[in-house]
Amino acid sequence: MYKVKLNTFEGPLDLLLFFIKRDELDIYDIPISKITKEFMEYLHLIEQLDLEIAGDFLLMAATLMQIKVRMLLPKEVDEKGEEIDPRADLVKALLEYKRYKEMAEEFSVMEYNQRKINFRGNFSADQKEAPEEISALLKNITVFDLIKAFQKALMERPKEIVHEVKKFNITIDEQIEFIMDFVEKSNYVHFLDLIRNMHEKIRIVVTFIALLELVKMNRIGINTSEKLNDFVIYKLNDGKDL
């Protein structure tokens, strides 16, 4: 005596395969009346338990009814004059479904085996060096980014009203030295930190030009920063990372 676990079945095809298996039925000669009866009893059982019956089960019930009726009618023949078994499509569907149900079990085995394999968990201790080639560096950062960072720096510069016209004596060479001082000390510096204490626009402009000059000379490298509109300047030795 069997009780059917209600949620064991993935769908009506699965349920029919179960009946066929349980009663050792010939899948090519399914007793349609018997199986329809079983199927309907199952649906009523679900209903009795107040469970929701999926439309797919109802559709199958209708299909079974239809086959049952067609079994009673005179046999139809195809163009070759051969009798058409009203159950043929159902059998085909059952076999096709069974094929993938079997593979699902293979998949389950593969899943079981693969779950025993663990991949490496922590990559944070791997040493990484930013690529040394300037072309590779500039793949990350575009001139767009540079100019945008520059604009932002200008915009965010503390507003200071200067009443007096001053002459600035800032040269690119001085700013090159200024930048190199920074990177010699700490190997790298954020652009926003570099210009943090600059109040005059002209000084930032000249510093920025000095920076572009240094990139061209392969003396510094530039990389993206975690902050938007900023970038990291770091030292290169003859175009190579330290």
Binding site: I32, S33, K68, N122
Partner: protein, 217 residues
């Protein structure tokens, strides 16, 4: 300590998401194999030294590091430039969530202007738009006829390739995405309709059955 635990220790350090301490390793082993298993913190320390010696002798490209009160694997510095190259390549290829979001808006609403994108996203999108332009996933497709004649953006052939699509019309429609989500109300409606039909059919068939016309067995 039994020899097998050398490998267990090695596997635990390898698979741990963060540096793992000696006592955690001892705890895992005792929890699985029993409290009476003879593995101590000192054994773990010694095993790590033993393993690192093995790696050194065999020219392994990695070793176990002692950091942040725990053990973790790390590659040796001499390979840093190769690894650095790969990881920068990867970050260049990977799209951030923000980039994907923006790309999605452009893909579905193209051609679209920057102000329109920003209205939808609610944030300034200069940076993202520029990086998408740079990655060649979007391109300028002309100018809108509205005031200021802002630039219009649309997706490129690279975009289609990146997402494995033949043409823009192949993008899933928002309606289709919704459709995939199960709508329980809908299923319930369908059920009721079908149940009625089947009951009718059942009644129609009862007479046939009683008459004994059963060809199935």
């Amino acid at each position: 300590m039994e020899k097998i635990y050398k490998s267990v220790i090695e596997s635990l350090i390898f698979a741990s998401d963060e540096p793992i301490g000696a006592s955690e390793i001892v705890r895992a082993i005792k929890e699985i194999d029993g409290d009476d298993i003879d593995v101590t913190n000192k054994d773990v320390e010694e095993t790590v030294d033993y393993l690192n010696n093995c790696y050194e002798e065999n020219d392994r490209a990695f070793r176990i590091l002692r950091i942040a009160n725990g053990f973790t694997f790390g590659t040796k510095p001499e390979y840093a430039k190769y690894i650095g190259y790969l990881s920068s390549e990867k970050s260049r290829r990977r799209l951030s969530q923000a980039a994907l979001e923006t790309l999605a808006i452009i893909a579905y609403k193209q051609p679209i202007t920057k102000p329109e994108i920003e209205t939808i996203r609610g944030v300034n999108s200069d940076y993202i738009i520029n990086s998408l332009l740079e990655k060649n996933l979007i391109a300028i497709k002309g100018r809108a006829e509205t005031i200021g004649r802002p630039l219009l953006y649309g997706t490129t052939d690279e975009f289609l390739m990146y997402f494995g699509l033949n043409k823009i019309a192949d993008l899933p429609k928002p309606r289709e995405i919704e459709e995939i989500m199960t709508d329980s109300d809908f299923i319930e409606q369908k059920r009721k309709i079908m149940m009625n039909e089947i009951e009718e059919e059942l009644e129609d068939n009862t007479s046939t059955e009683e008459n004994g016309f059963d060809t199935s067995e």
